[in-house]
């Protein structure tokens, strides 16, 4: 499966390409390259499969209609994630979302996600511990502020640099670091408590 390359930006679509054509004109290629990444980010942010799917569609629609405004001053992936982030913000700020969030039949089940832990653990006990760690991070993320969660996901799920996160979110570098450290502080505390229970 091609999941290994999801977090990286293909060089053909990054800054400094020799071809002067707009990389977003080839929509099929853009979708094939970035749909998994955009969907994954939205799924982890919204925790709702249907909403993530809808907003992924919307992200590419917006990117397509606004492709003339893409000046290649950032990577295509960063630009798409920025669009997805704005859509997710708009989505979560509507009262309708809160209502459906409570009733969502498609809400992500943390246990389901944890069951997808890579099968590199030797023993079933180690695998169980790994699943518990993943579930603990998912649960902890739910309790973080919107900014802390977004920045954590951009850093550790999308593997963006701090400067790239600052560019995507429009926040100063110091603010990004501050939110990230606070998120890590909470996750570390939860992880330490979990480790004590395990012992």
């Amino acid at each position: 499966m091609a999941t290994e390359n999801i977090g990286t930006f293909p060089t053909g679509l990054a800054i400094g390409t020799e071809a002067r054509t707009n990389p977003l004109d080839d929509l099929d290629t853009v979708v094939a390259l970035y749909q998994p990444r955009v969907f994954r980010f939205l799924l982890a942010t919204l925790r709702d499969r249907d909403a993530a799917e809808t907003l992924t569609q919307e992200t590419f629609l917006r990117a397509w209609t606004a492709r003339e405004s893409f000046r290649e001053d950032c990577a295509v992936g960063t630009w798409l994630i920025r669009i997805a982030l704005n859509l997710a913000r708009d989505h979560t700020r509507t009262g309708r979302f809160r209502f459906w969030k409570n009733l969502a039949a498609n809400a992500v089940d943390v246990a389901d996600v944890a069951s997808f832990v890579p099968a590199m653990e030797a023993s079933s006990e180690s695998r169980l511990i790994a699943q518990q760690q993943v579930a603990a991070i998912w649960e902890t993320l739910a309790g973080l502020s919107e900014r802390q969660r977004t920045i954590f996901l951009l850093r550790f799920l999308e593997e963006m640099d701090i400067s790239e996160i600052a560019e995507t979110t429009g926040l100063p570098l110091g603010t990004v670091k501050s939110h990230l450290y606070r998120a890590l502080h909470v996750i570390r505390a939860r992880h330490a408590g979990h480790a004590k229970e395990a012992r």
């Binding site: 998994p36 992500v108 993943v134 701090i162 670091k177 450290y181 606070r182 502080h185 570390r188």
Partner: protein, 185 residues
């Protein structure tokens, strides 16, 4: 925009990494290995506890990413394909040409209608003039007859209409009778 302080005053465990140092170590990518070690990294060389905790947390985050990516890929397999082109078929680069084409079509449809209308207006005057001439002829004939009748009436009268009051100051006599008598004499 709301800004927050860059430094965080987390409680510092005695002799171990601060929360900010811990966060910095977790958040930093291990790409740049040429630079000098930071105090936090130097601490890790001597503190097994912090090193173990950092390694565990890094591992947990790697597992989180792996599981989330695999789960999202699995969910995406059943997602509907993206159909952007069907909704946004107007290419921004070609959009002015579409508008020009639409304008040309509208003009092409409007101009013949205008021409036909103009032609019909030009064809209309002879008929109208004919009918107008006919009307004026009829009117002239009628007015001539009326004029002749007036002349005939005036000529047949012995007194002009304006002096008939003087002919019968008392106003007792019927004018028509008087006229007939006057004709007899």
């Amino acid at each position: 925009m709301k800004t927050e302080p860059n430094t965080i005053a987390f409680p510092r465990p005695s002799g171990h990494l601060t929360e900010a140092q811990f966060g910095e170590l977790l958040a930093s990518s291990a790409k740049n290995t040429d630079r000098a070690l930071t105090p936090a990294e130097e601490h890790l060389l001597t503190c097994e506890q912090c090193t173990a905790e950092l390694a565990e947390l890094r591992e947990a985050i790697v597992l989180f990413r792996g599981a989330t990516t695999a789960y999202a890929d699995d969910q995406l397999r059943t997602a509907a394909p993206i159909a952007v082109r069907a909704r946004g078929f107007l290419s921004p680069t070609l959009r002015p040409m579409y508008f020009v084409a639409v304008a040309a079509l509208v003009l092409a449809a409007f101009l013949p209608i205008q021409a036909v209308h103009r032609r019909s207006l030009q064809a209309a005057p002879p008929a109208a003039a004919a009918s107008a001439a006919l009307n004026s002829e009829q009117y002239a004939a009628e007015s001539d007859e009326a004029l002749l009748e007036d002349v005939d009436r005036a000529a047949s009268a012995t007194l002009p209409d304006s002096m008939q009051v003087l002919a019968d100051p008392m106003g007792n006599t019927d004018l028509s009778v008087q006229k007939s008598n006057q004709r007899k004499y």
